[in-house]
């Protein structure tokens, strides 16, 4: 299947060409070229998926296929970074997800970004992102993944900062890069530890969990935990950074400064789930050797999920609400992986996590693109500027509603099926965790419908200076409709047939008790939102007053951003860097200058010796003779 190489080469080529051409091409040409290339990439991805799932199944198990592999750099006889393409169920699934959402975003942006300064640059960056993200998921080894991981981070940085004249966008892009870089430090050290003991970067060897490969880890401990646990925990930190797990989530809400289609592609559907993908990729190691780390991942995921859901309830910027909802949903995926078993029917969580990743990518992209359509119409991100938009934006409204129902977990929309599996897996692992996640699912339904009602219902829309909002052009509504259709039907895909923890066939079955509970909870959340927000009334304000403290704390996102500012501004700048710089200028360099001054001072003092005066010399000679004589006499 060497043709899969073109899935990577084409977007890279597109980036290079669009980047070099920049404004030499008309915007429409650049947009068309970018979109056309991505269409080919998407077609190739679908073809790959079709061929893979129809031919790679051997005795009921999907095989891993190395479609391409070449040594990129050789470190020593064992360690070398390869560049290659690994096809297995999750990477093929990701190819489909990425190319689909990316294509939709490409089409959507043709209209959304029309007339923007830097339109060509925008398409170049989208191509770069697609290249990096596709490369990430097909990596054959962990170092290749790390490389593409960094490149994905770069394209995210570039796209968040797309409006580079806006100070907020610049600050947000910087924050996103530095926070994820910090997390990647953990990832890198984790890789170094792992590769030092196993002598390989290769996923095939690592995930085979061959005891011989991991033998040299035995007995190596550091601060009470085994070296392997450290490695896997550190690698997870990398994943937590990209996937915005608490407390590394702080960059994601700010990343909404980027153009909205970018938020849909990178910060909702694809890049932010890279952490989930990473854990899934290394899942056999986690479950076989370090289950305690895996359980830790579950708890981090659960906490993040609840935490973000609480914040999402009170935000008023619609993109921020969606951002926190993304964080919360990724938390669900992490929990599912964390509680999963391995192999056969025990791998519910794994399958559910991947399933949710798939459905979430579709409906969350839909929500963001819908939000873009709304922003396009009313020129604001604030809920307070909206309300009563349903009659102006019919297509947006209906597709948005479909996505809200899906994320709330109402059957038969896709979110129901995947979330239900997650809840089932979690309940099975620990009822306490299951209850928390079910509660969070209820919160999700509530805040999503709060969002929905406050945008499309409630007060009548106030037209400002004669401007009436109108539905977006076809290039924007078409992706909405497409993703809406996918969201309705994706739940019926027999997902377990394709993706499971061990490549075998996982039979999805809906547990009626759990399904009933989750639907009831979701309906309760929607009901509450309907009561509070459907019609404009005082109830919501009264509730906010009642929980004033927590409301304010949640509104300020529990002051985690202030903590970040404190660490960067106060600790790194004031407490470390400034003293270091001062020390360098005054102590280290001062010593050098001091040496020079001392030399100069001494020469000034002794230059009198060469005075040229005879009496002076005679005096010194006499003195010298006397001293020598004294020495001779007395010793």
């Amino acid at each position: 299947m060497e043709y899969t190489l073109y899935i990577l080469i084409l977007p890279l080529l597109s980036f290079v060409v669009l980047g070099l051409m920049d404004t030499k091409w008309k915007p429409v040409v650049a947009g068309t070229v970018g979109t056309a290339i991505l269409t080919i990439v998407a077609a190739l991805s679908y073809y790959t998926a079709w061929e893979y799932f129809s031919t790679a199944n051997l005795n009921g198990t999907y095989q891993k296929i190395i479609a391409f592999n070449t040594v990129w750099v050789q470190f020593n006889e064992h360690l070398h970074i390869d560049m290659g393409i690994l096809l297995d169920p999750i990477s093929v699934m990701m190819l489909v997800v990425i190319s689909t959402v990316s294509l939709m975003v490409h089409i959507y942006s043709l209209a959304y970004m029309k007339g923007e300064r830097g339109f060509e640059r925008y398409y170049a960056f989208l191509s770069l992102f697609s290249f990096a993200m596709l490369g990430l998921v097909v990596s054959t080894n962990i170092f290749q993944m790390y490389m593409f991981w960094e490149m994905v981070g770069l394209s995210s940085y570039l796209l968040i900062g797309f409006y580079y004249t806006k100070p907020e966008a610049v600050a947000a892009s910087k924050k996103a890069f530095i926070v994820t870089r910090f997390a990647d430090l953990g990832f890198l050290i984790g890789i170094l530890i792992l590769s030092y003991y196993t002598k390989t970067f290769d996923f095939g060897i690592l995930t085979s969990c061959d005891a011989n490969v991991f033998a040299s880890f035995s007995g190596v401990t550091f601060m009470g935990a085994s070296a392997l646990s450290w490695a896997m925990a550190l690698i997870f930190i990398g994943g937590a950074g990209k996937s915005a797990m608490f407390p590394l989530h702080i960059w994601l809400p700010d990343a909404m400064e980027g153009p909205t289609p970018v938020s849909a592609l990178i910060h909702a559907a694809t890049m932010v789930v890279a952490g989930v993908f990473l854990v899934a990729r290394l899942f056999p190691i986690y479950i076989t050797f370090t289950p305690e780390v895996l359980h830790g991942i579950a708890y981090v995921g659960a906490f993040t999920s609840l935490f973000a859901a609480v914040i999402a309830i009170v935000q008023t910027d619609i993109k921020r609400v969606l951002a926190f909802s993304t964080i919360s949903q990724i938390g669900f995926m992490m929990v599912a992986l964390g509680v999963s078993g391995y192999g056969g029917q025990a791998g519910t969580g794994y399958m559910a996590s991947m399933f949710h990743l798939f459905t979430h990518a579709m409906f969350k992209a839909l929500l963001f693109l819908g939000a873009g359509s709304i922003i396009h119409a009313v020129h604001s991100n604030e809920m307070t500027q909206m309300g009563g938009l349903k009659k102006f934006l019919p297509v947006t409204r209906w597709t948005f509603l479909i996505a809200c129902l899906a994320i709330a977990g109402i059957p038969p929309f896709s979110g129901f099926f995947s979330k239900d599996e997650i809840l089932a897996a979690t309940m099975h692992f620990s009822p306490g965790l299951g209850v928390i996640m079910t509660f969070t699912a209820g919160l999700t339904a509530f805040y999503m419908f709060r969002l929905y009602y406050r945008i499309f219902h409630g007060k009548k829309y106030q037209t400002t200076n004669g401007h009436t909002p109108h539905e977006s052009p076809v290039a924007m509504t078409l992706p909405l409709v497409f993703l809406g259709v996918v969201t309705i039907f994706a739940g019926f895909i027999p997902f377990g047939k394709f993706v499971s923890s061990d490549g075998g066939y996982y039979h999805i079955h809906i547990d009626p008790t759990i399904a009933t509970i989750s639907v009831v909870v979701a309906l309760a959340g929607i009901g509450l939102a309907t009561w509070l927000y459907r019609k404009e009334n005082d109830a919501s304000a009264a509730v906010a007053r009642k929980f004033n403290t927590i409301y304010r704390a949640a509104y300020h996102r529990f002051y985690i951003d202030e903590l970040y500012l404190f660490i960067t501004k106060k600790i790194i700048f004031k407490r470390i860097s400034s003293p270091v710089a001062w020390f360098d200028r005054h102590i280290v360099d001062g010593t050098m200058n001091g040496l020079a001054s001392v030399t100069q001072w001494v020469s000034l003092k002794i230059k009198g010796f060469q005075s040229g005066k005879i009496q002076h010399y005679a005096f010194v000679i006499l003195l010298g003779t006397l001293i020598i004589a004294a020495i001779v006499i007395f010793i």
């Binding site: 750099v73 770069l154 360099d589 050098m592």
Partner: protein
């Protein structure tokens, strides 16, 4: 005549031709021709070298030649190259080529500027091709002295002070070197200055204990070893563009190259014994340079401290004394040379337009000069180690290599060094955000022009080199590694 000597001869011929030149046009033409010839020559050399190796020639140094110079002290003009020197020669040629184009409008006294510039380069080339200790020292001095005049005359700001400081500190380093070279000569038998022959012998360990630190520090001063690095910020800040490029890009590499070729290669026992001291110092350099760069406001100071950090990594990796880390060290020399030259070139070009290097006085330049802006971002990304650009592969080779040393000290220092990737990101993005993005700070900047054709040649050449090294590193890392293998073998034997 030996093929390698052409590297020294071309700059000298260029000198003569420059002397005869009458106007700026001729001067530029001659300088550009000389630099282009050198660039082509390094390409030919690389091809010939790889060809020889492919034919199975596995002697330590290729293209050997010896000419007796001064019999009483057995001083020969001996030349020869291995993969490491070839890499350095490529680097020098690229920097020379781009440096000439970056100084296309140097003012005043263009002829004198290029005279010194080419004299300096002949010293650098000589240093890299020679394998005789004394000739090496001599070329080293030839490379240092013109720096004083180049900074003192064509510099900016406190140029006299900086030129003096730089020269004195580097001279102090070379004084240590002279002592150690003589020591090595006498204690290795006193009948040869040839590196390869000395390497076959054994310098008594008690003597090595004194000579190794002298040699390592002597070269370390030039390699910005903490705490002997303070010439670098002042020197770079005052130097004219092309001199900063050549100095940070190539001259600082003489330090790393010498530490590796002379100090560690000839005195492996002492190197093993004392590596820990210098590892701590270089570890400090890496992190300390990065933190210092975070709060600087002058572009050149930021880059100078960043060089302290990156060059610290070179010495750090050399001291790890395994094949991976040492290969990484040479890769890092290449990579740092290219990207820091690009940085200094761009800073010079920006300064030439805005007449300020303070980041607080600039903003929104991306919109005004997109070419320079984008190039600056690329340089920044290379510096913070983005995959696909040269910094990444070099740093990763170092980190993977350093991690193979499993005792606690090495581990701790390696992890400390790895954290520099985050701090680098902080200072790079801070600068990029301040000067390129945001609103235009100074309305007078609105009318500034973007890069001229000669500036573009310089910048594009460097970017191509950075991308090439960063995306297809295998051939060059193999070339370097194969040359490092025998050296590491000797180090291991000494253990």
């Amino acid at each position: 005549m030996n093929f390698l000597s052409i590297f020294v001869i071309i700059p000298l011929i260029t000198l003569l031709a420059l002397y005869a030149a009458r106007n700026r046009k001729q001067i530029n033409l001659i300088a550009a021709t000389g630099a282009t010839l050198l660039l082509i020559l390094s390409g030919i050399l690389t091809y010939l070298y790889l060809h020889e190796r492919a034919m199975g020639n596995d002697s330590l140094m290729l293209f050997r030649a010896d000419i007796l110079w001064y019999a009483p002290f057995n001083i020969y003009y001996s030349v020869g190259v291995d993969g490491v020197s070839v890499a350095m020669l490529i680097l020098t040629s690229i920097i020379m080529f781009t440096g000439v184009f970056a100084s296309w409008r140097i003012d005043p006294l263009p002829k004198e500027f290029f005279l010194w510039f080419f004299l300096l380069s002949s010293g650098v080339y000589g240093f890299f091709i020679t394998i005789d200790l004394f000739s090496m020292f001599m070329f080293y001095e030839i490379a240092l002295i013109p720096m004083y005049l180049l900074i003192g005359i064509w510099g900016t700001g406190r140029k006299e002070y900086s030129a003096m400081k730089l020269t004195l500190m580097l001279m102090g380093g070379s004084a240590l070197l002279l002592v150690s070279i003589l020591g090595i000569y006498y204690f290795s038998g006193g009948d040869t200055m040839n590196l390869l022959e000395i390497a076959q012998r054994h310098i008594p360990v008690e003597v090595q204990r004194y000579l190794f630190p002298l040699t390592f520090m002597g070269f370390g001063v030039l390699g910005a070893l903490f705490p002997f690095h303070t010439w670098s910020p002042d020197g770079h800040a005052s130097a004219p563009t092309a001199v900063s490029m050549l100095h940070a890009g190539v001259l600082m590499k003489l330090g790393g190259y010498g530490a590796f070729r002379v100090a560690i290669y000839l005195m492996p026992e002492a190197a093993h014994e004392q590596a820990w001291i210098f590892l701590i110092l270089t570890g400090i350099s890496v992190i300390y340079g990065a933190f210092s760069a975070v709060v600087q406001t002058d572009l050149k100071y930021i880059n100078a401290y960043s060089s302290v950090s990156h060059c610290g990594l070179v010495l750090f990796a050399i001291l790890m004394m395994n094949e991976t880390a040492m290969t990484g060290a040479v890769m890092q020399m290449l990579s740092h040379g290219l990207m820091t030259a690009l940085f200094f070139a761009l800073i010079g070009m920006i300064y030439g337009r805005t007449h300020t290097r303070l980041i607080t006085e600039m903003g929104g330049l991306m919109k005004i000069m997109p070419f320079l802006g984008v190039s600056y971002v690329i340089a920044g990304l290379a510096s913070l180690g983005l995959p696909g650009l040269s910094g990444f592969v070099a740093e990763m080779t170092i980190f993977v290599g350093a991690f193979q040393e499993s005792d606690t000290l090495h581990r701790i220092l390696t992890i400390v060094a790895v954290t520099s990737i985050v701090i680098t990101a902080v200072y790079i993005l801070r600068v990029v955000g301040k000067i390129l993005y945001g609103k235009v700070q100074n309305p007078q900047h609105e009318t500034l022009s973007d890069a001229t054709w000669w500036e573009r040649i310089s910048v594009v050449t460097l970017i191509i080199a950075i991308v090439a090294l960063g995306s297809l590193p295998l051939w060059i890392s193999d070339m370097i590694q194969n040359s490092i293998m025998p050296i590491v073998g000797k180090l291991m034997a000494a253990l």
